[in-house]
């Protein structure tokens, strides 16, 4: 009896062990709870929107974050970090000065400067591939045409914009635009200039011809989305960059003709009133994603200063960016645009500080509606606006056939600034004048580097400022060291590096 029980027990226990061993193989299927997988993503219209938002995120005014596909922390393109696409487009020029990054200030940068976390701008090449993927997925999807075409136009404009930014800093790169090659691991060489810019041009033309893409989102809840106006503006920028003056003129005239944009009557209000009709694109800022530009401007002991007649009171900031006095002096007396710049201030000890006793440069505040100590403010960051269109059209006309037709455009901008209109200039005089005019109108908006390069003044001005290492190679930034290493000779470095 006892041994029977024992045998049973042995059988039962072996059975138990057997169950434990084999009974729950299905338990071994992996389950993902907090991320999405191919099984549950890219299905609905909202999924595509979320994928588009990720493309937009490169343009967020938020500082940045680790690239999810690499894990390296990168800054976004347009915020006040001194290493962004936006700020480097100003800090390498005569309009802004900053000494936090000696290699940039002194034109001693090299491939290492743009490597690792310094590859923030170059790393956007991955978002070109992501955009290509999304364009492909939207095209193949079954969402309704209204949404489909609009999303396609948005994705193409964003891809073109990212590609243009890369082109501006690095020249044509080997961005992936064919969805079939997205997961290839083969290293491909850089595109030729013509191939590369043709892709940008075609994407923008596709977007412009999309009926479902609105001309402008001014004053709507979708403010911040890519509009047809932005696609047209990017096309204008591309043509200006390539000095294709007839196409540039036509692209600019299309924006003027669209009627969607106009000059704001007051210069300082351009940077105060959110989504006013002069703005073609601005990055939305609010308490969740505040604007830190202003904090970078103020000297430590700052207490009060005046932007025109407007009293600007706040505590000190980081004193990172200053407008050199040489640049400030390009403004003539009475130029209303100077009313957005602070040239002297009272410090916390009650003493006046100006250019003669320690103020390193003017404070290019631009956004004069700030209230309180900050440090950050919920103020949209202006990227593209109608005044730039007028100045670009004027420049394109002057380059083709001299200034006579161009005055009507440039003088709209000068009138608003409260300074007298131009006339009677030679083509060469107009060319030099418009470069300065663009500086006065668009300072600290991220256009100066392109403008100086287009006018072949970028290196010359740097040497004048004391960056004696500057040479023609610095017109483009170098391809990051790790990309060269990976390229194994297939990817060419920019000349001189």
């Amino acid at each position: 009896m006892k041994s029977k029980f024992k045998n049973k027990l042995i059988v039962v226990s072996f059975f138990t062990v057997f169950i434990l061993t084999t009974g729950c193989e299905s338990e071994l299927e992996p389950e993902v709870f907090s991320d999405l997988t191919p099984e549950n993503f890219f299905q609905t219209e909202k999924d595509f929107n979320a994928a588009l938002v990720a493309l937009y995120s490169s343009f967020s005014i938020d500082w940045g974050g680790p690239d999810p596909g690499v894990g390296i922390w990168y800054t976004n393109l347009y915020n006040a970090n001194n290493r962004t696409y936006l700020m480097r487009s100003g800090l390498t020029t005569d309009e802004l000065w900053n000494d936090w990054d000696a290699n940039i200030l002194n034109f001693t940068w090299g491939p290492a400067t743009f490597s690792g976390t310094g590859a923030s701008t170059y790393s956007r090449i991955r978002y070109v591939a992501r955009a290509t993927d999304i364009i492909d997925k939207i095209e193949k999807s079954s969402v309704n045409d209204l949404i489909k075409n609009r999303y396609l136009a948005e994705a193409k404009t964003l891809r073109a914009w990212l590609m243009y930014i890369l082109y501006d800093f690095f020249g044509p790169v080997n961005a992936k635009i064919d969805p079939e090659t997205l997961s290839d691991t083969e290293i491909i060489p850089r595109w030729t200039d013509a191939e590369y810019t043709a892709v940008i041009e075609q994407d923008l033309l596709d977007a412009i011809s999309t009926d479902e893409l609105p001309e402008s989102y001014s004053g709507t809840a979708d403010w911040g989305r890519v509009s047809k106006g932005l696609a047209r503006m990017l096309l204008l920028k591309l043509y200006m960059h390539k000095k294709d003056w007839p196409k540039a003129e036509a692209a600019g005239m299309n924006i003027i003709a669209s009627g969607a944009y106009s000059l704001n009557p007051s210069y300082d209000d351009v940077f105060i009133t959110s989504s006013n009709t002069e703005l073609i694109y601005a990055i939305v800022s609010n308490d969740a994603v505040p604007n830190w530009y202003m904090q970078h401007l103020f000297p430590g002991g700052y207490a009060q200063g005046f932007a025109g007649s407007k009293s600007i009171e706040r505590g000190g900031g980081w004193y990172g960016f200053s407008m050199p006095w040489e640049f400030y002096d390009k403004f003539e007396d009475g130029d209303l645009r100077k009313n957005t710049i602070i040239s002297e201030y009272t410090n916390s000890a009650g003493e006046l500080v100006d250019r003669d006793n320690g103020l390193r440069g003017a404070i290019p505040l631009k956004y004069t509606s700030i209230e309180g100590n900050g440090p950050d403010y919920a103020i949209d960051w202006v990227i593209y606006r109608y005044a730039d269109v007028l100045l670009s059209v004027a420049e394109a006309i002057n380059e083709q056939r001299g200034p006579s037709d161009a005055y009507q455009y440039v003088n709209q901008v000068r009138d608003r600034a409260g300074v007298s209109g131009w006339n009677g200039l030679t083509q060469e005089e107009f060319r030099e004048a418009i470069l300065d005019e663009r500086g006065r109108e668009l300072f600290a908006e991220g256009h100066r580097r392109q403008d100086l390069i287009r006018h072949s003044k970028f290196i010359e001005r740097a040497i004048e400022r004391g960056a004696t290492s500057a040479s023609s190679k610095h017109i483009l930034f170098p391809i990051p060291a790790e990309v060269m290493l990976e390229g194994g000779g297939i990817i060419e470095q920019n000349p001189g590096y």
Binding site: L9, I10, S13, T16, V17, F18, L20, T21, C24, E27, L28, P30, F33, S34, D35, L36, T37, F41, N49, A50, A51, V53, A54, S57, S58, S60, D62, G65, P68, G69, V70, D99, A102, N106, T108, A112, S115, R126, V128, A129, R130, A175, D184, T185, E186, I188, D222, W223, G224, N286, A288, V289, G301, Y319, G358, R360, N373, P375, E486, G488
Partner: protein, 1025 residues
């Protein structure tokens, strides 16, 4: 000569009276030296499996084959004894307490072994020998105790994690942490304590908590460290870095005893890193700001032109400086004397059928940094119950609660404007008083830095509850076969409540913010295994075969609420927070399942030649589709040379040669090999922030674990009856199929894919030596010593990752690469040709190849991070009723930087921040002998591909006297008529002294803002009733 009968926990050589052909009944009693009965002692007829156990009063009776048989009598912790019967029918045996550790039982996974018979590299630590008051977890006491077990405290904060590593970490990307097995059950080696959402705050706050801090060290009987893969392979895919077994106490049959221990400790902070006082701060600011003015304008010495006489106005006037005095010492304002109070009660009771160990512990540490207090309650109830002749049940339960504050120390993520408490104290200008005239907290010149004392207003409470229950059922199916069923539920939940009121005046969150978070970790285990053991005339065979199922899961949620119109509600009603755009909520969940089968065979011939084989098969949900199952074998063998006739009657009491080989796995958790879309990158349209989704990971269905193999050779020795004993072990371990990333082209959406490629190797030596120097009735003196050294290097690298020229294919894993330096450039004339454009005060880099350029061709190997040698030395004295023990550990040959450099940038700018006193050593034209680099930015630093130089890098060594304990045992005899059985008073000192050639703060904490250290002095008493 010690006797070597094996004691297998589940072996069947006990209690087997009924079916023996008996001829003679022997009765007897087994007592200890003082005459107290030893219940449960083993009595076996030599050369047979015939045996029994003593009862509650130490009595036994056994039928033996004839009256000239020999009985083997053994009891854990006592020297075993052979008794030749010579016709006696009744015997009285007095066992001597074991003086040698060699009699100890060690846990080897699914069973135990006598340490003399183990074939693997196993070290056993009796926690009573190392128990130190004022430590929160047992791992903090193990530093230097086991050769090859290298520990480093992540922070001196109470309850902080100890990073453990057994023999060289050879996994560059995988974990180097061992597996912890508590009472037979693997635990999750992380604490679920929620951190702070740092996106607005900019700092994390809190501490990486040891998961062992929830276990009362006084409840732990022993810690067994298994180092070789030949033995750990029975834990398969989890065992790559060795296994640490923690066994809690269980009740013993016998008279009920109550132990009460109370200790009070005072913690005196050691000297912390020094910061400038007010006067020096103002002077150093003026000096460096002027130097910066010269540099910015390229005046001499940075340029040819002399500075104008009136170009620079010092920020601080001479009279302000003279009146400043020393100002406020913000750093030391955060540090105070700490106190620890601990009460520990344990009750031990039992009879033949039921044995209970239960305890309660209260530990309260008012920490030396304000707002980092630690309070813990633990309760334990371990019961062993006999459910019949052949069935035993044991249930171990543990409950603990940790309540802690969480001072924000350590690194931060938000730059200077989001400093944590300690960083803020570093930076805050010492000439500014704590309060404004209106009573509010003052601000420093950089007005974004929160006043360090304002951090005291923050309410940050963390409560962690852990409950675990581990029932275990042993069923003796046959005399030689036992079935063991183990279950376990281990649940930890942790809740954080954080409230920063508006009085803090945080620049980012001026209207206050709250965070609430709860995380949970659960682990469920079910295991069943058979243990078979049979002794033959000249050999013993034993085997284990079993299976297990494991589930771990975790989840959590957190929220941030911003903007409180009142501070009155704290975090208790976050619904009132009105800055909705800055409010945030998050949640997560994960789950992993694992199935396993395992087996062990052990065969011993004549007690001399022992063979051991283990095998495990693991399948897990976090293994990829094409590698669902892994098999991990281990073999080992030992030759007990001392059992050979030629060593009988010599001074050699123990000599054993062992050799082993095994393969184990190193698994990365998470779903690294799946294609994933991550919620990443938000953007704002209108006024609405929308989430983005990005392809973040591409699939690799072949991805699997790293495989570690190791070959071990060990020699255990004992001389003069083990008065001198120890071991020497050499090993080589290799990792192959390393977890790595294959880079994808820079123009692809995803930049990398996980893969298994490459191989590393470590070779090392572990030495342990224990000596009993003096052993008399009134005076005992023993010492122990551990020594370990290893070198880990690359064998094969990922061929898809291009190596820079300066990296050698087989370099050390932790090799340091960088530029050599040659002091400072002290004038424009001294600027070398290869550094044209450099400035005085710049570090002079060495142009290795003299090509006039500084680039990656000038990078050289500067050494290897980590210590070459680790060691520990302990010594114990007893003179009559006095005891004295001391323990020290250290390491040697570790390259360390200077610690950290003064921030000359922030002290010299227009909103100056305070910095280290070493700023006085910063070179400037008026401090020409300064040794630290000056204000001028070095135009060549950006060309250094590694960013590392050997500037002030030196090899350091240290010896830390960790612990000195002095005790006195009250002489109590049976007729003292005191209600106590034993009373021991003791004084204990922790972190007594540090000897080092290191110039920085502390060689064990070379992070930038470490938690301060303390000397802890404890007065305590142990009372046994």
């Amino acid at each position: 000569m010690l006797f070597g009968q094996s004691i297998f926990a589940h072996s069947a050589n006990i209690g087997l009276v009924h079916n023996q052909r008996a001829q003679q009944e022997i009765t007897g009693v087994v007592l200890d030296e003082s005459g107290s009965p030893l219940p449960g002692a083993s009595v076996v007829e030599k050369g047979t499996t015939n045996g029994t156990q003593t009862d509650f009063d130490g009595n036994f009776s056994l039928l033996v084959s004839n009256n000239s048989a020999t009985l083997l009598i053994s009891y854990v912790g006592f020297e075993a004894m052979e008794v030749l019967l010579q016709g006696q029918n009744t015997i009285v045996v007095n066992l001597k307490e074991s003086a040698s550790e060699l009699d100890e039982v060690v846990v080897i996974g699914y069973g135990t072994s006598n340490i003399k018979e183990t074939t693997g590299a196993v070290a056993n630590v009796k926690v009573t020998d190392i128990l130190q008051p004022s430590n929160t977890s047992v791992d903090q006491m193990l530093q230097g105790r086991v050769a090859g077990l290298n520990l480093s405290l992540s922070s001196a904060q109470p309850g902080a994690r100890v990073n453990a590593n057994i023999r060289a970490d050879i996994s560059p990307r995988g974990s180097g942490e061992p597996l912890y097995v508590v009472d037979g059950v693997p635990i999750i080696n992380s604490s679920p304590e929620p951190g702070l959402d740092d996106s607005d705050l900019g700092f994390f706050g809190g501490v990486d908590r040891s998961p062992l801090s929830t276990i009362n060290p006084a409840d732990i009987e022993s810690v067994d460290v298994i180092k070789d893969a030949g033995t750990t392979a029975i834990y398969g895919s989890a065992a790559a870095n060795g296994v640490i077994f923690i066994t809690t106490k269980k009740g013993k049959a016998g008279k009920t005893t109550v132990d009460y221990r109370v200790t009070t400790s005072i913690q005196n902070p050691k000297d912390y890193i020094e910061f400038l006082d007010a006067e020096d701060f103002m002077r150093q600011h003026n000096r460096l700001a002027y130097d910066r003015f010269l540099f910015d304008n390229k005046y001499a010495p940075y340029g040819a032109q002399n500075p104008p006489t009136d170009g620079f106005t010092p920020f601080f006037s001479e009279s302000e400086i003279e009146n400043a005095g020393s100002g406020t010492d913000y750093v030391n304002g955060l540090i105070r004397s700490g106190f620890i109070q601990e009460h520990n009660v344990s009750i031990n009771s039992g009879n033949e059928n039921t044995q209970v160990y239960s305890s309660f512990n209260y530990f309260d540490n008012i920490a030396i940094v304000k707002n980092s207090d630690f309070q813990r309650y633990t309760g334990r109830f371990n019961i062993t119950q006999k459910l019949g002749e052949r069935i035993n049940l044991s249930v171990k339960t543990n409950f603990s609660q940790i309540n802690s504050n969480n001072a924000s120390t350590g690194a931060n993520s938000g730059g200077s404007e989001k400093f944590n408490m300690l960083q803020a104290a570093y930076a805050f200008a010492p000439n500014i008083p704590v309060r404004e005239e209106d009573g509010s907290y003052s601000r420093t010149y950089n007005n974004l830095i929160t006043n360090p004392f304002a951090f005291f207003e923050i309410d940050d409470e963390l409560r962690t509850n852990r409950f675990s229950i581990t029932p275990k059922l042993d069923v003796e199916l046959l005399d030689v076969l036992t079935l063991t069923i183990v279950g376990s539920m281990d649940r930890t939940s942790s809740t954080r409540r954080f409230f920063m009121p508006s009085v803090v005046e945080n620049a980012q969150l001026p209207e206050g913010s709250a965070q609430l978070a709860t995380n949970r970790n659960d682990a469920y285990t079910g295991e069943a295994y058979f243990s078979y053991s049979k002794s033959f005339a000249k050999s013993t065979f034993s085997a284990v075969l079993g299976a297990g199922v494991y589930k771990t899961l975790g989840d959590g949620f957190s929220l941030q609420a911003v903007g409180f119109f009142t501070d009155a509600l704290g975090a208790d009603n976050v619904g009132v927070a009105d800055q909705l755009l800055r409010n945030r909520q998050n949640s997560f969940r994960f789950e992993t399942n694992r199935l396993s089968q395992f087996a062990r065979l052990n065969y011993a011939i004549n007690g001399k030649y022992i063979f051991n084989g283990v095998l495990r098969r693991d399948g897990a949900s976090n293994f990829s589709d094409n590698n669902k199952w892994g098999i991990f074998p281990g073999v080992s063998a030992a030759w007990r040379i001392s059992q050979e006739p030629f060593l009988e009657n010599t001074k050699v009491s123990n000599l054993k040669l062992r050799v082993g080989y095994g393969e184990v796995g190193n698994v990365v958790l998470a779903d690294n090999a799946l294609q994933l879309y991550e919620i990443s990158g938000a953007f704002t349209f209108g006024n609405v922030v929308q989430p983005g989704v990005v392809l973040s990971q591409v699939a690799n269905t072949d991805f699997k674990w790293e495989t570690n193999t190791s070959i071990d050779l060990g020699l255990d020795f004992g001389f003069f009856e083990d008065r001198i004993s120890g071991s020497v072990e050499v090993y080589e371990k290799r990792a192959k199929d390393l977890i790595d990333f294959d880079p994808l082209p820079s123009n692809n959406a995803v930049g990398r894919v996980v893969t298994n490629v490459g191989s590393t190797r470590a070779r090392g030596i572990d030495i342990a030596l224990n000596t009993i120097n003096i052993l008399t009735d009134s005076f005992e003196w023993s010492t122990n010593f551990t020594f370990t050294t290893s070198r880990a290097e690359w064998v094969e690298r990922n061929p898809n990752v291009a190596l820079p020229d300066y990296v050698g294919a087989n370099d050390d894993i932790n090799a340091i690469y960088g530029w050599e330096t040659d002091g400072l450039i002290r004038s424009l004339e001294e600027v070398p040709n290869h550094m044209a454009g450099a400035f005085p005060g710049n570090i002079r880099f060495v142009d290795q190849n003299n090509d006039g350029l500084l680039d990656e061709n000038d990078v050289v190997n500067l050494g290897t991070w980590g210590a070459g040698i680790n060691f520990g030395i302990g010594t114990n004295f007893r003179y009559k009723n006095f005891t004295l023990s001391a323990f020290a550990y250290g390491n040697s040959g570790a390259p360390r930087g200077f610690g950290f450099f003064p921030n000359i940038f922030s002290i010299s700018n227009s909103t100056p921040s305070n910095t280290l006193t070493s700023v006085k050593d910063v070179w400037s034209f008026d401090n020409p002998n300064g040794v630290l680099p000056g204000i001028a930015s070095n135009p060549y630093s950006g060309n250094n591909p590694t960013g590392t130089t050997d500037f002030l890098l030196e090899e350091t060594s240290f010896l830390r006297i960790r612990n000195i304990n002095f005790g006195y045992i009250l002489p109590i005899t049976d007729n003292s008529k005191l209600p106590f059985r034993k009373v021991r008073f003791f004084v204990d000192l922790q972190n007594v002294a540090l000897f080092t050639n290191y110039d920085g703060f502390d060689p064990e904490f070379d992070v930038t803002n470490p938690y301060p250290q303390a000397l802890t002095s404890t007065l305590g008493v142990d009372i046994q009733f």
